[in-house]
């Protein structure tokens, strides 16, 4: 280890080794400590989750009934105005959070479970299992998303659960690759430990040693997948392939389009759902990215001296000669 590495570590603010032997808890604390924007992101996400949970208490009107004139501008009674059916926009936005977040989290969970399992099995066992699973992954990568969505919608119907599953299927491959790479690198270390331990079976090995090393990365990746899932949901819904019985933010955007909000100068029907989606996606990205940064700190010093090294006037450093 040379001075420059010490310097680099120092610059990155790291005193310890990036290996997370303290497992999940240590990793989360480190993330929050070193990446303050993660806290903001987390707070935003939590806020939206709370809004979704307590929707009936927060919403001002029912979303299934016409409670005001069509396309009325925001007022003291309807904080965000009404849509093309006279339904209160604010309440729609609040209830919409439920579906959007539900799809986002559930789909990301599906991707995490499938991708995580495939990645762990593939990376741990190697050999023909690995090759087979990777070929399957490659096939899934080649399948274009939209046709798959169309086909599923046509055959299985446009139910929310199908949308969740299909989004999960679209995103599991990248998770699998990530996990596989991580497992492979951990595997070497694990086998060393195994050589010292007595009679530890494969399953024990995986659960006790591999999983804790893989978990932080998996969590970071899943958080980022949530952002992608929310994005994809708005896309699917906009093309008319969403669940017609539910209201998500994506549906609200679609409604504003189909209801000619632009021609009616009804900005309140267009702006809020998009802002909500963007904010949630940004927040999840902030948190996920911070986690990834905490796991792979940029240890390299930039050699480009945009700001110069500083000069310090000598004051009392002179040694007593």
């Amino acid at each position: 280890m040379t001075t420059s590495t010490t310097v680099a570590r120092g610059e990155a603010g790291f005193e310890g080794s990036p290996e997370f032997t303290s497992g999940r808890r240590g990793f989360i604390v480190t993330t929050l400590r070193d990446q303050p924007q993660a806290i903001i992101g987390l707070m935003v996400v939590v806020m939206f989750i709370l809004i979704a949970i307590f929707a009936p208490l927060i919403a001002t009107y029912s979303i299934h009934a016409k409670t005001g004139p069509i396309y009325q501008a925001p007022s003291s009674t309807h904080w965000l105005g009404t849509d093309d059916g006279g339904v209160d926009m604010f309440s729609l936005l609040v209830y919409g959070s439920r579906v959007s977040l539900e799809v986002g989290f559930a789909a990301a969970l599906v991707a995490m479970l499938i991708g995580g399992t495939v990645g762990v099995v593939s990376g741990f066992f190697g050999g023909w299992v690995d090759v087979l699973l990777m070929r399957i992954t490659d096939i899934f990568l080649v399948i274009p998303d939209l046709p798959l969505i169309i086909v599923v919608a046509a055959i299985f119907g446009r139910h929310l659960i199908n949308i969740i599953i299909i989004i999960g299927i679209i995103y599991w491959t990248s998770t699998a690759r990530l996990v596989r790479a991580q497992v492979k690198s951990v595997r070497e270390r694990v086998y060393v430990k195994r050589a010292r331990s007595i009679g530890a079976g494969n399953r024990r090995l995986v659960v006790k040693h591999v999983l804790p090393q893989v978990a932080p990365l998996l969590i970071a990746n899943t958080v980022l997948t949530i952002a992608l899932a929310v994005f994809l949901e708005t896309y699917i819904t906009f093309l008319g392939l969403g669940d017609p019985s539910t209201v998500s933010w994506g549906k609200l955007i679609e409604n504003s389009f189909l209801g000619n909000a632009v021609l009616n100068n009804a900005w309140w029907a267009i702006v809020p759902p998009g802002v909500a989606v963007t904010v949630v996606i940004l927040a999840c990205t902030m948190v996920g990215q911070s986690m990834e940064d905490a796991l792979n700190p940029r240890l390299k010093v930039g050699h480009l001296a945009v700001r110069r090294f500083r000069l310090r006037p000598l004051h009392g450093q002179l040694d007593n000669e």
Partner: protein, 324 residues
């Protein structure tokens, strides 16, 4: 392995992927309920008539036989006929694709130029306000739902700059006699600008982050310290050692991403009522014209494979270290 072997390997791989894609295309769309005959509306149609028609069209053969027929037809360039209107799919695809290409090229060029520029500046001024603003703006545009951005632009920008809300031709086009080529170009461009701008804004963020990341990685390399030791100025280092090296992975990533731009274009064309392939696809989804969709998606998948292949070749050409 020789460098020429690399090209051979990649070509073979591309061709194999094409084959897989073509097969998957068949499988996916054959899995759907309904075929060309189901959608037929005729008041004399008895079930027997439809069955006879099916027999004529070869739709009652086994899936395997249909697959073979499908492959044969494809090799002749025959992509079947649409469910709606019974027109050859190939012909129906060409016009919209042309229109989309123009708009997409405009948007993509903008996004690449803007993305690379902001990425380099961000990396150069790492850690400063410029960097942070640039990164967060990029992230914000990247997170915005495409269709919503389109709607916002139509609502807030279109009228202010005097650009049309959508479509591809103004209602008063040619109203004052025969429009010349110039008028044609102006009108077309006017209709392309906002959709292209939307596309550009949605795409650029990704490039900013990729370029920034690649540049930072490069600027931390030892040879950059060597360059500084030689007495080179910051700007010379960034240009001669930083940029060239960082662009290596970036070029590949950009080429790879080009294949997927159509996805964003679909919603944009829908919002702007721009009659390109995207809008055609949305229409076909709505009308359940699976024959058309099959053809359209085959073309799209093939273009993704094509761009992947181009990306492989580019990387090979740019990096002297690649041997296999």
């Amino acid at each position: 392995m020789q460098r020429s072997d690399y090209i051979l390997k990649r070509t073979l791989f591309a061709l194999m992927t094409v084959f897989v894609a073509v097969t998957l295309n068949f499988v996916l769309f054959r899995a759907l309920p309904g075929d060309a005959v189901t959608g037929l509306k005729c008041h004399n149609c008895t079930i027997q008539f439809k069955e006879a028609l099916r027999h004529d069209l070869g739709l009652d053969k086994s899936k395997w036989q249909q697959y073979v027929i499908y492959l044969k037809k494809l090799s002749h360039g025959d992509m079947g006929t649409t469910f709606i209107g019974n027109k050859p799919v190939r012909g129906e695809l060409w016009e919209p694709i042309k229109k989309t290409l123009g708009m997409i090229t405009l948007g993509t060029v903008f996004s690449i130029i803007f993305g690379v520029f902001t990425g380099v500046i961000s990396a150069w001024r790492r850690g400063t306000v410029v960097d942070k603003t640039s990164v967060w703006t990029a992230l914000a545009f990247y997170s915005v739902p495409t269709q919503w951005l389109g709607l916002m632009i139509v609502y807030f920008v279109a009228d202010r700059v005097g650009l049309p809300h959508g479509g591809i031709q103004s209602p008063d086009y040619g109203i004052l006699g025969n429009p010349g080529t110039f008028d044609f170009l102006v009108d077309r461009t006017a209709h392309m600008i906002l959709p292209a701008l939307t596309l550009g804004l949605v795409l650029y963020g990704d490039y900013t982050l990729i370029v920034r990341s690649a540049m930072l990685e490069t600027l931390g390399e030892d040879y950059v310290l060597t360059a500084r030791a030689k007495g080179m100025s910051n700007w010379a280092i960034v240009w001669k050692h930083g940029f060239r090296n960082a662009m290596l992975p970036v070029v590949t990533l950009i080429a790879l991403s080009l294949g997927f731009i159509i996805g964003g274009a679909i919603t944009i064309e829908y919002v702007f009522d721009y009659p390109g392939i995207g809008l055609a696809i949305v229409d076909a989804i709505d009308k359940r014209d699976y024959a058309f969709l099959q053809g359209a998606f085959l073309v799209l998948t093939l273009s993704v494979i094509l761009f992947n292949f181009i990306a492989d070749l580019l990387y090979f050409k740019l990096d002297p270290r690649v041997t296999t």
